[in-house]
Amino acid sequence: MTVSVQEVPGVGSEEPVHQEPTGFWRRYIFSVDHKMIGRQYLLLSAAMALVGGFLAYGLRWQLAFPDTWVPGLGFIGPETYNVLITMHGTTMVFFVAMPMLLGGFGNFLIPLMIGARDMAFPRLNMLSFWTIFTGSLVLLASYVVPGGAAAGGWTGYAPLSARPIYTGVNWGLNLWLLAHAIEFASFLMGGVNFLTTAMTMRAPGMTFFRLPLIVWQELTAAVVFLLSVGPLIAGAVMLLMDRIAGTSFFVPAGGGDPLLWQHLFWFFGHPEVYVVLLPAAGLACEVLPVFCRKPLFGYRWIVYSTFAAGILSFIVWAHHMFVSGMDPRLAMPFSITTILISVPFAIMVFAMIATLWGGSIRFATPMLFALGFLAMFICGGLTGIFNGSAPANIPLHGTYFIVAHFHYTLLSGVFFGGFAGLYFWFPKMFGRMLNERLGKVHFWLTLIAFNATFFPMHFLGLAGMVRRISNPLQYPSLEPLQAVNVFITLSAIGLILAQVPFAFNIVRSLRAGEPAPANPWEATTLEWSTASPPPHDNWGETAPAVYRWAYEYSSPDAGEDWLPQDRLLALKP
């Protein structure tokens, strides 16, 4: 008997969850389609990134050329400077990174990757987007209320944030709290939706260990967010009461405790780091095997590491508080948990490197950004070892070393992980190819400017430059280092300008880009088996069924070097 391999299309079954709307409003604005909502999230995060980037430009200018006229912004005094740093951090973490990595990619990818026709709760999904949209408007409105926007730092440490007299900001800080509350409500709805969808709506054959990694990492991020945000919501209500009702939860004069706020904030705030980081790592994990033409190395180990990182993230928060005045005996236990969390991330990084070994590597733009993420994230992870060791943290806490560290971890996730995902799935999202040459120009300019901006901050931090000062020239020890600050500022402006080729590429592609085929990268996951862009209910008549895991590249069982998840290899006599 001769055995030959025949390919038959996969079959699945599911009815469309809702009809395709015809009107403009239902189709583009109040859409219940996860693909449209995902793109809305991406657009929102891009718009807020412009705001956050402009704030960064203003604060960097002030640091390089203190108390001079900032082109496009005017004079920045110390009060305005505190507004810039506060709103830069808040905007970038909560209104750029989260909507992009969770709202944008999570919404677009999860149903497509698991073979569903939409989210489990399409209307809740729409509500979650319009909720964060409202939150963004509240945050933007805080700039124009009397007294100006919040100026208490993105961490809003009490009692500075608890009494308007300390910052001179009244309604701006109240609205800042309100914007957070609305944003949290939005992501609670989104997280519930992610979980329910991935639990209940997987295509036939899509077992948990056949899920693409990004789905695992979005889910872990959603669970971590759901479990950690409660204490901060309670804390935010208490802080708002302190501000407007005169209570003293965090004000010692009335019997309160300022450290309580820090515990509540960081109990959420550190897991939040992984809420952003895990999806970013997931995007890189999706892109690497496609362009190595090789299975992702150690898939299950990465899944287990993701869980481990999610669990450990709940017991590390006090490493932000080594010198805060909490009992010093707590420092070493938290130092140990913190340093332990490097192990799951080490496994992820080693797995990504091992994926490169023996590959057949194509250097397309998404791959370049994924590699950029890997390299930058290694830098950020390594500097985390300094910060996580309590005694080494003493001279580094609150300095530019910390600023460098979290930009290498978080911004590398958003920038390099996010752009890897965007270049990779743009053809699927919009049905057009992006220009490769412009993409590569964008990558190299971004990589160089990113490092020129953030690497020298390590040196400034070691030299003792503390965060949130508006004028380094007030410190005799920093005067000789002012050239470094000027260099950083010019590089930061370069980093912003490096995004111009990207914007140009997007506009050009949407107007006249080459139409994208269904599977331009020859990738295996389900979203590539439908048209680009996918039809309203994702799959047309028949939803796919799944026969294998997500990374079957260069399998000895197939002639081509990729075997899609939904393709049945039948043994035929």
Binding site: N82, Y299, R300, S360, L382, I385, A392, I394, S555
Partner: protein
């Protein structure tokens, strides 16, 4: 990288610097190892016609060992860093070295207030002396400070001493240091404390024994 640190002038600063050096050596090694491997693999396994990628899933223990063993080494090194660090932490923050030299440090928007007990060595007596932004200490003398704040959280940072501690309203934190070199050093506030945070900067003046006696005579002439 270590040369960017300001000059160390305290008895425990050397322990902190040694730990920073240790972590620096380890992280630099891993940085070059990982980035070197990435570069090497990108070069060796770039796409070439007619060559198919290896089919390695890395799930079986024998394959996964390639990532699990390095991760285990990372774990051992991590624990080693914490083991080394525990002593340094205990030295700086875990106890107060006994001394007769006391000072009270109070942060306020936007100055450091230093309260000296005067010749009687007791606070709350008429010979107490308060100076803004000037901390005078004799060299080689253990200084026992009590840190608090009048309004918001400040952070008492002595870059050259390798010491940092938040000053909290409603709470007193005890600390100590011993300066080993006379001179003037900065005391920036390292926690955002309001619009005057930038520029909130005191001076640590470490006196030689003779200078210090001179300073005491000027300040408390009646004694």
């Amino acid at each position: 990288m270590m040369r960017w640190l300001p000059e160390n002038i305290s008895t425990y600063g050397g322990d902190i610097d040694a730990l920073l050096s240790l972590i620096y050596s380890l992280t630099v090694f891993w940085f070059f190892l990982t980035l070197g491997l990435i570069g090497l693999f990108l070069f060796l396994y770039r796409r070439r016609d007619g060559r198919r990628a290896a089919y390695v899933r890395g799930e079986r223990p024998a394959e996964a060992a390639w990532i699990l063993i390095p991760a285990a080494i990372v774990l051992v090194l991590d624990l080693w860093i914490d083991h080394r660090g525990a002593d340094a932490w205990a030295k700086v923050k875990g106890h107060i070295a006994p001394t007769a030299y006391r000072v009270r440090v109070t942060g306020k928007q936007f100055n450091w207030e230093f309260l000296y007990p005067g010749p009687d060595g007791k606070f709350g007596t008429p010979d107490d002396l308060q100076l803004d932004n000037e901390l005078h200490v004799p060299v080689n003398q253990v200084v026992h400070g009590t840190l608090t704040s009048k309004d918001v959280i400040h952070n008492f940072f002595l870059p050259n001493v390798r010491f940092k501690q938040d000053a909290l309203p409603g709470r007193e934190v005890e600390f100590w240091f011993q300066a080993t070199k006379p001179g003037k050093y900065e005391i920036p506030c390292a926690e955002l404390c309001g619009f005057g945070h930038s520029g909130m900067n005191g001076t640590l003046i470490v006196h030689t024994p003779e200078d210090y006696q001179q300073w005491v005579k000027e300040r408390w002439p009646s004694q």
